[in-house]
């Protein structure tokens, strides 16, 4: 047997067809082969963006369209739907109610959520698992079920308590119940990651427990608290099911939008107000994102995203 002309014939064979093909073709087919996953990746990402944002962007475009149905071609620019929207007293009431409820419950949720998160991450006690389960359950049980059970509860003639009239107050109360566990999750994730030796050092150096909490723990929690505040505000503002069932005659913005849409076909007024609200929400979420500054190595950004939640 003669020695093969090529030094490593097996290697060439293993690389496969591309390598075996004539030199002038090889780089091109290689390039195409490498391009396929890139194109696929881009296509998948774009598909998601179109699915999630396409409808809302079209809504925004048509909110400036001078026609009362949402159809092509565009008939010229107008802002009259915006003036009409803000002239509508029932819309204004719903929006105002939503803002009031969210503004009041957000600080309450921050306090309750932080207390819960601190106890769950820093203390050992019996029933700790039970408390964690209860917090998790409020996040997993559907809002419809919470809303209906609360409706039955408030209407029941309870001993000592009696009936509770449904109003913005009951809406706010139930928003606290279903929103502060979210704060507990976000803050808890931050606490779980934060190095405890600093807290121990503070106590060893003579700080009281309260001083330690105020000077060591709280400053570390500031980003998580800002983000929690924004997300709690959104949860309350966007909550439809609970507000719908426990609101009685009072209504919030989502409830107003729901009943308006249910009873009429096309409302360019809703386009306009939806666009305003979405724009504000985009700004707030981007701020929360900036504050938490997630990175590729630490993408859950201190519990912003429910990664290991249940």
């Amino acid at each position: 047997m003669t020695v093969p002309a090529e030094p490593y014939p097996t290697a060439t064979a293993a690389i496969g067809r591309e390598a075996a093909a004539p030199r002038s073709v090889a780089p091109r087919s290689e390039r195409v082969r490498r391009l396929v996953p890139v194109v696929l990746s881009v296509a998948i990402a774009l598909f998601m963006l179109v699915l999630l944002y396409g409808p809302l962007l079209l809504l925004a475009v048509f909110s400036f369209n001078n026609s009362d149905i949402l159809t092509l071609p565009l008939r010229g620019f107008t802002t009259r739907w915006y003036t009409q929207a803000f002239d509508d007293p029932s819309m204004r009431e719903g929006l105002w109610n939503s803002i009031i409820v969210a503004t009041i419950i957000t600080p309450i949720c921050l306090v309750l959520g932080t207390l819960t998160a601190y106890a769950l991450t820093r203390m050992r006690f019996i029933m700790r698992g039970g408390v964690a389960l209860l917090i998790g359950a409020t996040l997993v049980v559907p809002w419809l079920v919470i809303g209906i059970s609360a409706l039955l509860f408030f209407n029941d003639n309870l001993p000592l308590w009696g009936r509770t009239d449904l109003s913005l107050r009951t809406i706010g109360l139930m928003h606290v119940v279903c929103t502060f566990p979210l704060v507990a999750a976000i803050v808890g994730a931050r606490l779980a990651r934060f190095d405890r030796t600093q807290e121990e050092a503070a106590v060893d150096l003579g700080a009281t427990q309260m001083q330690m909490l105020r000077r060591v723990v709280l400053p570390h929690l500031v980003p998580a608290l800002i983000a929690s505040a924004i997300f709690a505000y959104m949860w309350s503002f966007n909550n439809f099911e609970i507000s719908y069932f426990v609101g009685g005659d009072d209504y919030t913005f989502p409830v107003w939008a729901f009943s308006t849409l249910r009873h009429s076909q096309n409302l360019p007024v809703v386009n306009a107000i939806s666009t305003v609200i979405s724009a504000v929400q985009v700004v707030l979420v981007v701020i929360a994102w900036r504050v938490l500054r997630p990175s590729a190595d630490d993408p859950d950004a201190g519990g912003l995203i429910p990664m290991g939640m249940p």
Binding site: P37, L58, A119, A137, P142, S149, L261
Partner: protein, 282 residues
């Protein structure tokens, strides 16, 4: 003397609040579900009639079957989108990884009613989708089944819950060592074998989390079927609403709601158990 911080001091108000306004309402709901309906009868004492009504009425069964079909289809479609998307985000997107994550988080924080409404505008008889298809000459008259149909409900639900399907799967994939794929390829596995034997088993815990976060709430959807479902997209959530608020049949409504709660508990426990099982296996 130092004041000790006790768990009781921290947890008294949050847990008290949950017991009063989360646990107690569930207990009341359970009680109401066993009571005679005050609107229709004056009997007192407890009964199983509400559960019998919910479980045997053919109309309710029909709604339950439709709900199962819609929720399962929406979940399946979301997995079809979420698995490749999560893979792209975890391994391919590089500097676009975080913007994509932001896009997902942001989408969840936008108002859900507004999103449903936007889809309704697109899918209607005179909506943009029909316009576009007619303009392109694919159809000559508007499609009726785009809106007020199961199709509409499935489409809207698939997009409104996508955040909670993608992110757990993405998080699970993020924990995978990318070297494993190279190893699999070096050992001669094709992309499909790598996907089935390496990627999917390791991403499974994320899939189970997605089931808990998404599949369960899908069964009690109410706003989406009410706004885009019409008659054929009617779901159990709409049924619970009409039993309670429109018919005043609180007993049956409570029974239905309680069954939804039990079902969601069972699915959660099962998914949780499966995710743990898988972790031990590996």
């Amino acid at each position: 003397m130092r004041r000790r911080l006790t768990p009781l001091g921290f947890l008294f108000s949050p847990v008290g609040l949950l017991v009063l306004f989360f646990v107690a309402p569930m207990a009341i709901m359970l009680q109401v579900s066993f009571e005679h309906n005050s609107a229709y009868s004056f009997e007192t004492g407890y009964t199983l009639a509400n559960y019998r009504e919910i479980l045997t009425d053919p109309l309710y069964r029909h709604v339950a079957r439709d709900t199962l079909v819609i929720a399962t289809a929406a979940m399946a479609i979301q997995f079809l989108i979420a698995v490749p998307l999560a893979y792209v985000m975890a391994f391919k997107a590089r500097r676009f990884e975080l913007p994509l994550l932001l896009a997902l988080v942001l989408a969840d924080e936008l108002n859900p009613i507004v999103r449903i409404y936007a889809w309704r505008e697109l899918l209607g008889r005179q909506g943009l989708v029909n316009d576009a298809l007619q303009w392109l000459g694919i159809i000559d008259k508007p499609l009726d089944w785009l809106l007020f149909s199961k199709f509409a409900v499935i489409t809207v639900l698939s997009t409104s819950w996508l955040t909670y399907t993608v992110i757990p799967i993405y998080a699970a994939m993020k924990a995978i060592d990318a070297g494993l794929f190279e190893a699999a390829l070096d050992l001669g596995a094709g992309w499909f074998t790598t996907f089935r034997r390496v990627l999917l088993p390791l991403a499974a815990p994320g899939v189970f989390v997605a089931v808990i976060l998404v599949y369960i709430p899908l069964f009690s959807e109410f706003a989406t079927p009410a706004l885009v479902g019409g008659r054929s997209g009617y779901m159990l959530g709409s049924l619970a609403n009409s039993l309670i608020l429109e018919e005043g049949n609180w007993g049956a409504g409570a029974a239905l709601n309680f069954l939804l709660l039990v079902a969601s508990g069972l699915v959660s426990v099962l998914a949780f158990y499966l995710s743990k099982l898988n972790t031990i296996d590996r």
